[in-house]
């Protein structure tokens, strides 16, 4: 199918393009910008006047809940949510049940996802068997089955020797290791940032040093093991400074932040709002400001949704007993635009944090709409504002602290391999 996208503002962060150019898609790839290629006959013309066309979003953390947690969400519901959010490629963490530590599980997930014909799924393999942090997972086999990197999701490896060896082993094959820094002893039992709000509300706390002590260990181990480290979900100002320093020293390290932490802080917990119970915890305003500054100066490479759909029952509980996490894959674009507007960051660089940069960290063919690239696109109206309500979400999880927010960016079309997979008639 040939598609002519007419009159749009084309933004391609990889090439730094932000221009008014028509776009021509043929045979699933971007055939041309500006002028139609010879003998191009459009099967469909999309009038995109006033709309932005950018690469489909690449989300570094989307829990699809399969296998094992189908009562929370299914591949169908979450893949639909992804394309409704303009996300065309996503990495899913291995914290399923059973965890993604066997090639057969990964193959099954990939083939199920593929048959849905929506977003592309890139599984993260478990770094250790059963995520238990004792024995290495079969990384080479898992990579062959389709894993793009290895991770422990939110389960830290306590034994530093295992962690070091896992990094060495991964780096033998050049596999990236994605880890969220959190010291399990320092974080034990905690549910909120160790600051004014937890003190007032009497919530068991997780100190910032739980993140920084673990990050320091990780950076040193990765350096010694020669591993490609991707640090997931930074939450503290100190951690941003540590990554900035490591990058200045030439260490091969990248990092991301969850979109919640770009906007919210501990104060948003209000009167025990369990929708603000997240991992890592929402920290102080100072931390949030440092995360935003880190994004703006490129210390933080990518923004992800850290999508975690949950059933309402596990949120309708006292804060500390509720399950942490929020549904967010559909909000990634809007919340990124909101940050860009507030911080005065040009759209082309802001979109880079959710398209080309995560794609290059994941080393997948995505995140650009240069001529010849696979036609995975997101078409949105940057001027339209949408009000977030539970009913507006496709995800089976309705658990988000952003209910009631008016956010910029209405997704109009999502295309995968040149096919329209989501279309918002309104």
């Amino acid at each position: 199918m040939n598609i002519h996208i007419k009159g749009c503002r084309l933004i391609d962060p990889k090439s730094g393009t932000d221009a008014r150019e028509d776009l021509f898609l043929a045979a699933g790839v971007v055939a041309a910008w500006g002028r139609a290629p010879k003998r191009f006959r459009a099967d469909r013309t999309i009038d995109a006047k006033g709309l932005v066309v950018c690469p489909g979003l690449v989300d570094m953390s989307v829990r699809l809940r399969e296998p094992g947690y189908e009562y929370r969400a299914t591949l169908e519901s979450e893949m639909q949510a992804a394309v409704a959010g303009g996300v065309t490629s996503l990495a899913c963490p291995p914290d399923t049940d059973p965890p993604l530590d066997e090639p057969a599980l990964v193959e099954m997930l990939k083939s199920r996802a593929k048959s849905l014909n929506l977003a592309r799924v890139y599984p993260l393999g478990a770094l250790s068997a059963k995520l238990k942090g004792k024995r290495l997972a079969e990384m080479a086999e898992l990579a062959e089955a389709g894993c793009v990197a290895f991770s422990q999701a939110d389960v830290p490896i306590v034994d530093t020797e295992v962690l070091w060896r896992a990094m060495q082993y991964a780096s033998t094959y050049g596999f990236p290791v994605w880890l969220r820094p959190q010291d399990s002893f320092l974080a034990q039992g905690g549910v909120a940032h160790d600051g004014d709000v937890a003190t007032r509300l009497g919530l068991p706390a997780i100190p910032s040093v739980a993140e920084t002590a673990s990050l320091a260990t990780m950076l040193q181990l990765a350096r010694s093991a020669g591993a490609r480290l991707h640090v997931c979900r930074l939450s503290t100002a100190e951690a941003v400074a540590m990554v900035r320093r490591a990058k200045q020293e030439g260490q091969e390290v990248t990092c991301d932040v969850a979109v919640h932490h770009v906007h919210l802080c501990e104060v948003d917990i209000g009167y025990f709002d369990s929708h603000c119970h997240l991992v890592p915890p929402l920290r102080s305003q100072r931390d949030r400001d440092a995360l935003r500054a880190g994004l703006a100066d490129g210390t933080i490479d990518a923004i992800c949704s850290d999508h975690a759909p949950l059933d309402e029952d596990v949120k309708h509980m006292p804060f500390g007993e509720s399950e942490p996490g929020a549904t967010a894959v559909e909000l990634l674009l809007s919340l990124t635009l909101k940050w860009a507007t507030e911080a005065g960051v040009p759209l082309v660089s802001a979109l880079g944090a959710v398209t080309s940069t995560p794609a290059s960290i994941m080393r997948v063919d995505a995140g650009t709409i240069g001529v010849g690239a696979t036609a995975d696109l997101c078409v949105f109206d940057p001027e339209a504002h949408v009000r977030i309500t539970p009913a507006s979400l496709c995800s089976q999880g309705k658990n988000t602290p952003f209910v009631g927010y008016e956010v910029p960016g209405q997704i109009c079309y999502t295309l995968v391999a040149g096919q329209v997979v989501y279309e918002n008639a309104a």
Binding site: D194, G195, D196, A198, T199, R200, L201, G202, L203, P204, A205, P207, V267, G270, Y271, F272, D313, H316, M317, P318, F319, G320, E321
Partner: protein
């Protein structure tokens, strides 16, 4: 952030969940009302008919004898019907969720829920969930709040010291885990006490506690010097030997209230404790049984304060 969930649209008390954010007038009104109930205990018939026909459910998700008993006595003296439920040992162990339990009890037309729960914030969840006719009283939630304790402590202080606006008050011990400390701090800062101090080792003080309007002391002698009121906190036995404290003996040596230490406070200083006391751990027996201790008065006043809270919530 939404409206303070414990006040109704007219600014009157709908639930009592925490002292934080309550206007001074409401606190004074509760204390004044409590004063009017003090003599009920001295009558032959220790009852007033203010809550006749109302049912008060004591919902204790965490074991408690003292608080539950005083709430029960308070409700009975107001002529309410009292139902005690120790949920720690019943439905929750059968897998019923907190809100299912509340729905069931609401269907029994409870007017008032007195809730004790191990999780901070649980009474907020219940208050959001019950119908507008029902009232929730927080009888202690996690480390967060124990508002009736904070009020009875305030009542005790007012009884002995009359005026809050000249007082130095030291709160000593495990502030980190203490809902009693948090509620007392909020009560004192709201009532105008100019010098509220917390005293304890760094391991037992929460991060940024000075944001609550207190001065922080890590030295007991300096912390209680010239104080008018010393509020001792209970240190749970299970916290005594581990990462927070090395031993009872060492804690007592550094932070225990002995007669020698008490002499550093003002000569007419009073000593409070929420009970149950650990003799020889946070407080010396000579102090606990001494003339400056008002620990048993706190218990007596606690009943009047709880009567005041229940009757005010019931609109009487």
């Amino acid at each position: 952030m939404s409206r303070n969930p414990q006040l109704n649209e007219k600014g009157a008390l709908q639930h009592l969940l925490t002292i934080e954010g309550l206007p001074r007038e409401i606190l004074i009104h509760i204390l004044d009302t409590a004063a009017s109930f003090i003599n009920v205990a001295e009558r032959d018939v220790k009852k007033v008919p203010l809550m006749r026909g109302k049912s008060v459910f004591n919902l204790f998700f965490e074991p408690s004898t003292r608080t539950r008993t005083t709430f029960e006595i308070a409700a009975k003296r107001l002529s309410a019907d009292v139902i005690n439920l120790n949920i720690a040992t019943s439905s929750q162990t059968k897998g019923e969720t907190l809100l299912d339990t509340i729905d069931n009890l609401s269907a029994m037309h409870a007017d008032m829920f007195v809730v004790r729960h191990a999780s901070s914030g649980a009474p907020y969840l219940i208050a959001q969930h019950v119908g507008s006719h029902a009232h929730v009283v927080n009888a202690g939630d996690g480390r967060h709040a124990h508002p009736t304790q904070g009020l009875l402590d305030s009542y005790t202080i007012r009884h002995y010291k009359r005026d809050f606006t000249r007082l130095a008050v030291a709160i000593v011990g495990d502030v980190l885990h203490s809902r009693v400390a948090r509620s007392l701090i909020h009560a004192l800062t709201t009532l105008g006490a100019p010098d509220v101090r917390v005293v304890g080792p760094k391991t037992l003080l929460p991060a940024g506690v000075e944001q609550l309007g207190v001065r922080v002391f890590h030295n007991m002698d300096a912390g209680i010097r010239d104080c008018d009121v010393i509020a001792m906190l209970r240190v749970q036995n299970e916290r005594m030997r581990g990462a927070l404290l090395p031993s009872e003996q060492e804690f007592f040596k550094s932070f225990g209230l002995t007669p020698e230490r008490l002499a550093l406070a003002r000569p007419d200083a009073i000593v409070m404790h929420p009970g149950p006391i650990n003799r020889g751990v946070e407080i010396d027996s000579a102090v606990a049984d001494g003339s400056q201790a008002v620990i048993l008065s706190q218990v007596t006043f606690g009943i009047a304060v709880r009567m005041a809270v229940l009757s005010i919530l019931a609109g009487k």
